[in-house]
């Protein structure tokens, strides 16, 4: 028996798992409907796929949500996991699920997949016969993704960096890399049985003034960590940044460089897709304005040439949205996509060149780390600040980089910290901003820049 299989048996011999049948699950994946695989839909490239967000505690609620989504002509269904399951606290998830079922009140902020189990969840997923995307935020997702794939969920979001640095203060980053290595290998192995399992990175990170160079570097590194384990279908992603031009430039550079670095490691055969998140920062409380913001994001996603868009709702500012509001966004986004025709092709060569130079310089510094494996190089680079994520709560993050918006609302680096932004690019970024202000002025600008959409 392989080491991986031994580890899988340990992970799945969990008191919260009802007898995991490896052979039966492999049989299920081998014969599963092609419709369930988002990689199959990406390969057809017919339209930008629309995926909302959403997860409720009980089976019945989740089923009802999916019915609303399907009626709104959804392309990809989400399964958002509750925060107890994300933190591997299955006992609390189980208790809170019971309380949610017994009282007419939600005690969980998502669907406790491990608690429901794959036999139950698979019934729902095969019934709707739509691709489902697993949305979680789990540093140790080993049991969760085993349960997901066994349920018919063939897209797994996340990664060791993007699911840790925005969410955790002190979960050890080195452990996260090793837990995600397991995820990549399991996804790669199942991919040999049918269409590929798609892995997706979480580009929005902290959704707070993250400059595109940092976003792209982390997307590329998580992609490489995944492809080197044998994953054949991967989505890089980023969120609306606040400037249409910066989004278009980011999209162009990330597409070009994802292809370039995949080929560099001999994985040019993998399918690479681009996902765009509608605005992930603070939303306006005025729901009509929220709809306008969502619509604008859909237009930009089209300009960017995204393969999938992940939607928000008009209730974003107030909490977990109702299924009605959530379905409305899906229908609205589909309508906008249908009427958006004849888009101009916008190219900003100067900005593309600057961003490309920045990304390549950081990537080179990561590769030059003396460690022997890629994940250790990346770990060291985060630890020593070669990669620095603005507003990450994690203790390993350097927090030396400072970013603000220029007059066009592009996110600019005005303090690079230890990140090896080439001098030429650094001067260019700073030249776009008014740097005559004192720190109090800059802090006020940052507060303003974070809240631009409100």
């Amino acid at each position: 028996m392989s080491l991986l299989q031994e580890e899988r048996e340990i992970i799945l011999s969990n008191e919260y798992v009802d007898a995991f049948d490896f052979a039966e699950v492999a049989e299920f994946v081998s014969n599963a409907s092609k419709e369930l695989f988002i990689s199959h839909h990406f390969a057809k490239r017919q339209k930008m796929l629309v995926q909302p967000r959403g997860g409720f505690p009980t089976y019945e609620q989740q089923y009802a949500l999916y019915e609303y989504f399907v009626n709104a002509n959804v392309d990809v269904l989400p399964l958002t996991i509750d925060s107890n399951t994300r933190l591997n606290d299955y006992a609390t998830a189980k208790k809170m699920l019971r309380l949610s079922e017994e009282n007419d009140m939600d005690m969980l902020n998502g669907y406790p997949l491990v608690t429901h189990g794959y036999r139950t969840t698979r019934k729902m997923i095969t019934h709707f016969d739509k691709p489902v995307s697993l949305r979680h935020g789990t540093p140790d997702a080993r049991l969760l993704i085993e349960t997901a794939i066994a349920s018919g969920i063939f897209e797994i979001e996340g990664g060791p960096i993007t699911y840790l640095l925005p969410y955790s203060k002190n979960f050890p980053l080195d452990k996260a890399f090793l837990y995600w290595k397991y995820v990549e290998r399991v996804c790669a192995n199942y991919s040999e049985l049918n269409e590929p399992i798609n892995r997706e990175s979480f580009g929005p990170l902290t959704a707070t003034l993250v400059p595109p160079a940092i976003t792209i570097v982390i997307q590329l590194l998580e992609m490489l960590l995944s492809l080197e384990e044998g994953v054949k279908s991967f989505s890089v992603s980023f969120a609306q940044q606040g400037s249409m031009n910066q989004d278009i430039v980011t999209g162009a550079v990330i597409k070009k460089l994802a292809r370039y670095y995949a080929e560099q490691i001999g994985c040019g055969d993998a399918a690479i897709n681009l996902v765009y998140h509608q605005w992930m920062g603070a939303f306006p409380t005025n729901q009509d304005y929220a709809d306008q913001l969502i619509n604008l994001a859909t237009v930009i996603a089209s300009m960017v040439g995204a393969d999938k868009i992940i939607t928000k709702t008009r209730q974003e500012a107030t909490g977990i949205p109702t299924k009605e509001a959530n379905a409305k966004t899906v229908a609205d986004t589909q309508y906008t996509l249908r009427i958006l025709n004849g888009l101009p092709n916008v190219v900003d060569e100067e900005e593309e060149e600057i961003l490309t130079l920045e990304v390549k310089a950081i990537m080179e510094a990561v590769f030059n780390d003396p460690a022997d494996t890629l994940w250790r190089k990346v770990f060291n680079s985060i630890k020593n600040g070669i990669i620095d994520v603005p507003f990450s709560p994690h203790i390993i993050n350097q927090n030396e980089m400072i970013t603000i918006r220029d007059a066009q609302k592009n996110i600019r680096i005005i303090e690079r910290g230890n990140v090896p932004i080439p001098d030429k690019c650094y001067e260019y970024e700073k030249a776009q901003c008014d740097l005559t202000k004192d720190t109090t002025g800059i802090v006020n600008d940052i507060i303003h820049d974070i809240g631009i959409m409100q």
Partner: protein, 137 residues
């Protein structure tokens, strides 16, 4: 002037914490930022360890209300904290409340400066004034 700062409890709101850090440094303080998700004992331990003159706690999700009640009891277990200036700011209650009442409640918990929904720079000006009054700025 040394300041220990951080966000109390299981509160992960990091943005204000980073801005407090930046602003304090700009005003010339020596900042020991414990970040988000910090428990009361960690704050007091850090003040002892660094010899800080100011402890500045922030809270966004309103958890401070629960923690505030434990300040006096816990502080009494430390011998050297009597002269430390205790400041708290942010959103100090869950939901809404009367600012005057909130202020007097937190003063009773043992805080010298209470900034409920006060903007960052005004709060830091208040700290400056208090330090000057006490002749330690």
């Amino acid at each position: 002037m040394k300041v220990v700062t951080g966000v109390v409890g299981n509160d992960i709101h990091v943005v204000a914490n980073r801005l407090i850090d930046l602003s304090l440094r700009a005003r010339g303080y020596d900042v020991f930022n414990l970040g988000v998700n910090t428990h009361l004992e960690e704050f007091f331990d850090a003040v002892v360890e660094t010899g800080a003159e100011v402890l500045m706690i922030s809270s966004l999700n309103g958890e401070a209300e629960g923690w505030g009640r434990e300040v006096k009891l816990l502080k009494s277990k430390y011998k050297t904290l009597d002269d430390v200036i205790m400041m708290i700011g942010g959103n100090l209650v869950v939901g809404s409340g009367n600012t005057e009442e909130i202020m007097s409640r937190y003063k009773n918990y043992g805080f010298d400066l209470v900034c409920h929904q006060v903007d960052l720079n005004s709060g830091l000006d208040m700290l400056q004034e208090l330090l000057e009054q006490r002749g330690i700025s």
